[in-house]
Symmetry: C3
Subunit: 494 residues, 3 copies
């Protein structure tokens, strides 16, 4: 730092102000109040969550309350909910000192995002033209959680390098873009994507990567000491991994057709994920001199099979087909961590903290392609006449569509999600580059110290002092004093 004050003529020593005492509360309050007003204007209970259900039942000759969509979807909804908050949250706790930020900011942006998603998705998908209202039920909640998932994926790319205010902005635009691309893919193109290989994972992945590319930090190595994991943080991350892995069958089946649709999506995802684990372990072991396994691979690549079955899980891909998809995804995703991530960082200047390119973007694209092929290969002999119509929803305007055309539209959907991710991410990244959001300096990245009151760890080591002695805490909490000012200076490169 001494060098800096001397020859600092052509060096732009910008001071980063990470004080978010004004921006964060303002954004939270204003946006939440906006939500309340918009919900007041637009959002109502649908007919199955309304006290008029008793009349709806009588009117539609429904004999039992169990026919309420709630009972078809609620168990899956809760599993998805766990994936969003515990799964994504804890998966990102692997960094040694960013667990609070991982779990806490994940919590914050998901809570905002799901409200905004209910509105955005409502306007595009279910706005009632007569009343001008959006009627929500359990399926809306699942879709809102799905929409949020896209933004949480993007968070993985910029983990530790942005402020919570930036994350909220990223979520606001992310949800907006998501609703539009989803509308184009599912409604206009009439592609099927129940588990969101394209809509959620491909979009979310490229959205995050593009943002990370715009926000490239050439001096990120200055916080390299914080980029690793420690033993317990890796164990915490496995909580996230496992809850994602276990509940992925619910994710891919949550909004598929009642009956066989949900049933089949669960079986396919269950099998695909199991297959992925074995090939991930194999490649991880191969990549090390002595065959040791790498926790990064186990935590992430084991999930790639679930991503890649997001589109095809509801089709008749057949059990061995699911295994094959999982097989290759485990390989590709793990190789991604070994070869592609370093390449992205060095050559394309994309710093991807959690490796979402390997876990979401690539497997998402694979999932889109698998979906297109599986759809194009569908036949009446396998699906049955009515089964084919049900599975691909060949009704109304689309009743004459052939499976081959469907395959083409699936592929088109794939492209839409990539374009929305890349272009949207680049634009949003530029907005996030404005020096008003309180992002940390390069040497303070991946450190909870910046945005969280941290407990005094030093006291922990004094436990063995006999408790009946008077306790004198003379410690000087250096790093706390240091950060109190919340101003930090970036390194100058002269």
């Amino acid at each position: 730092m001494g060098n800096c004050s001397q020859g600092c003529k052509d060096c732009f020593c910008r001071q980063k102000n990470t004080n978010i005492r004004l921006t964060l509360p303002v954004v939270c309050f204003v946006w939440q109040i906006a939500m309340i007003i918009l919900f007041g204007v637009f959002i109502r209970y649908d007919e199955e969550s309304n006290t008029h259900w008793v009349e709806t039942k009588a009117h539609n000759n429904i004999t039992s309350d169990i026919e309420n969509d709630f009972y078809f979807r609620y168990p899956s909804f809760q599993d998805v909910h766990v994936m969003i908050f515990v799964g994504f949250g804890f998966l990102m706790t692997f960094l040694k000192r960013y667990s609070f930020g991982a779990v806490g900011f994940n919590f914050l942006i998901a809570s905002f995002g799901l409200q905004w998603a209910l509105l955005m998705q409502g306007w595009f998908h279910s706005l009632d033209p007569q009343t001008g209202k959006i009627f929500i039920g359990i399926e809306s909640l699942i879709n809102a959680d799905f929409c949020v998932a896209g933004c949480l994926i993007a968070y993985g790319a910029v983990l530790g390098k942005v402020s919570p205010v930036q994350l909220l902005v990223m979520t606001l635009f992310g949800v907006t873009l998501f609703a539009v691309e989803e509308y184009i893919i599912l409604n206009l193109l009439h592609a099927r994507d129940a588990g969101g290989s394209m809509v959620i994972h491909t979009f979310g992945g490229y959205y995050g990567l593009a943002i990370s590319w715009v926000l490239y930090r050439p001096n990120l190595h200055q916080s390299k000491r914080m980029q690793g994991s420690v033993y317990h943080s890796d164990t915490f991350a496995m909580i996230g991994t496992l809850f994602l892995w276990m509940f992925w069958p619910s994710f891919n089946s949550a909004i598929t057709d009642h009956g066989d649709g949900q049933h089949r999506a669960v079986i396919n995802t269950y099998l695909g994920l199991a297959s992925t684990v074995l090939t991930t372990v194999a490649i991880s072991s191969l990549s090390q001199k002595t065959g040791k396994l790498d926790m990064v691979h186990i935590q992430n690549s084991t999930l790639a099979g679930g991503v890649a079955l997001g589109t095809a899980a509801e089709f008749m891909i057949s059990p061995y087909g699911a295994l094959i998809v999982g097989f290759f995804c485990g390989i590709i995703s793990t190789m991604g961590y070994i070869f592609i991530s370093p390449f992205l960082e060095k050559t394309l200047k994309i710093q991807d903290t959690c490796g979402i390119h390997n876990l979401h973007a690539m497997p998402g694209v694979i999932g889109g392609i698998v979906g297109a092929i599986t759809a194009a290969a569908a036949s009446e002999s396998v699906y049955g006449k009515q089964g084919l119509i049900n599975t691909f929803d060949f009704t109304g305007d689309f009743k004459d569509r052939t499976v081959l055309t469907q395959g083409g539209y699936q592929a088109a959907g794939m492209c839409v999600s990539i374009v929305f991710g890349v272009v949207g991410g680049a634009i949003v990244g530029s907005i996030l580059k404005l020096p008003i959001w309180g992002d940390p300096a390069d040497e303070n990245c991946f450190d909870d110290e910046v945005y969280w009151e941290l407990p005094d760890e030093e006291e922990e080591h004094q436990e063995s002092i006999p408790p009946i002695l008077e306790y004198n805490n003379h410690m000087i909490h250096k790093h706390q004093d240091l950060s109190e000012s919340n101003f930090s200076v970036e390194h100058c490169e002269s």
Copy 2:
């Protein structure tokens, strides 16, 4: 301590004996045997969990097994079960050295409490007058878990300051009081409280606070070094927070009406909780000089919205109404941690370890009030004629009750729960003050050392010693030797 032995004339140097080798096993054995006997006399399977179900089906013209109440309630039950054991248990692990006590004692008292609750609630709510038996099914299990929740809330106030024997006594009386107040509120007053804002949270909150008030420890500062958290203990606590947060919709909907009742309660709770997260973050950030977030707020106040919707979640409070409730609860609860908790401790001499006043008592009261207002404001135009009857159960003796009267009774129920909590807690607190329960000395509070065999932490730091060398453990485990006697002397104030 030297001073004490000298001039210790007017000083009452009571020795605290924390040896519970006699009391804890005796209480566990005797009470469990009592449970077995009472279950043998009173508890039987209900008609839906009985092998005679096949006849019941035929008799009631039920066409499918899926109409068994099991399938309406089991997913919610399991979520509630997770909240009780993982949610409450891990939420309290935030203390640096009380994780075993938090999770372990929570486990113990919940396991006892649910058995006793099945009996107490059975006697009051579902004792069959003809046979003198209590018939239990899935809804009974949910109600037992709910009843236990009240006692676990109370545990939060005294966390770290009581012995497991005291906790069991507290649970015995807590469940008993709970069953009585619940009977008065739900049956006599015919108030609605499906998610227990009043019955569970208000009662449990004031019960715990009153006990803590009676057990006030003026010298608790002597164990101040143990009152903080460490980094990983805060991360563990987030597991509790998130499972409570995610499954709260199941909590508030677990015993509401089949169909729209459960559906609506889920939507309202989901929304209310999301709103709470944003305002909690806002206030937490505002409260610190540089806008940093405080884990205590994120862990606790984010849940206040769920508490406050415990009564109104099943009503037509409308989505924006749920958001508004969550909005204010996040603010109030976080401000409670900042301003009210210190006030309670200094002025009212209430030491509230987990801040249950901010998380349960206050939001519970808010929930009761919101419920009363929402009930009083209900109208046939919004609910529909039959919907109004179904929602408020205006049948039998109550078929002529108006919504306004209902609002009044809701408010009356609120008061009953406060009175039962405060008076009951004061009485039970006095019982727990007897010097026979093995509670820890002031300087040993918040320390697992007192009631748990702890692993030797020192060895952890020796991992880097080459494993092929002979291992000699010369360490003197000071604090273990010290505590072996399990007698500790309180500080004397001369």
Copy 3:
């Protein structure tokens, strides 16, 4: 070691090669490819997960999609899935430095095992004679998870002492043996065992113990320093304990009869487990001089009641009967940890890392006996005529069987599971003794270092260094250098 190089004439100084870079990837790839081929040949969707479901519905006069077995079983399936991956995985993280191995290898072998189980169980139970295909649905997935559970139990006995390749071999044979004994017990003997007291726990327990007996390591004390727990690893283990405990009702009810069968199994398991917690705490407290509790007991013995109700949970054992079973299991299991485990190790030379003898083998046998007695004591007056037939499935070839005979066959099933466990385990143990599997040396047991890339823990302690200073990592990572070669030498006994 110096002594060894000198007088090492009659001493067999075998070098242990823990390099698994060849074997692990080969096994994973070859087996996974085999799975794909076998699935391609044999496995198909059943009629409820097939797009032809719409025709099946019409053909069988099924009026609603909710009648699909998916909706009866999916919530229980997901709970079981959590038990397998998070429950078993985290329960074994109690060791201070084997969390990666506990969770990671559990993940690996369960993922392989469930695929192999679908095939093996399919061939034995549901191979369609006409088409030669196995048709799978949600119940198949649950059964596959159950089958895997048996192998994960066995893993508990050898935790920390085997390589992942050995574990995969153990799983391959374990699943095979499981499918055969299950076929004998459930199909040939027509015994009932929905929660698997015999089929899963007794078999798995003795299978693991027999393997551990064959693999006895006389010099295991050399890695004694790694055998303990640390504070946080014990807290992680409680995550496993609680998810197993909470979801055990789903485990025991997942494949019982629709309706009352599932309902009753849940109630019985819920009650039995609650009772176990109290007696476990009582005995644990009694066993220590000052009444302190031992985490090992709380983590494990509290689950014994669930194991012991695996057979009888679906019977009319009555609520107090379930409490009694739990009562005694808590006592026996905890006493097992105190008295029997040391005896097994010293006298019978069985090293049982997790104490599966106390948690699975013994309670499993108790469960088998309880099941036999409860079956033999069943009467038409209690069950009802049709209820008796439904519960014990007295149809087809078995329509004339009496309850007494049934009791006898239950007991016979018990013996079959023990024999398969012991004999099978002994044989598989001998296979695992071959020096080709990369198992660790005695002084490297219980150490993740051998099979995992571990993060540098030393850096953690340097956090307080001001982040703006240049970071120089001069540390010599001794133990990493040491293990890089992945060759370690066993102690010689001269």
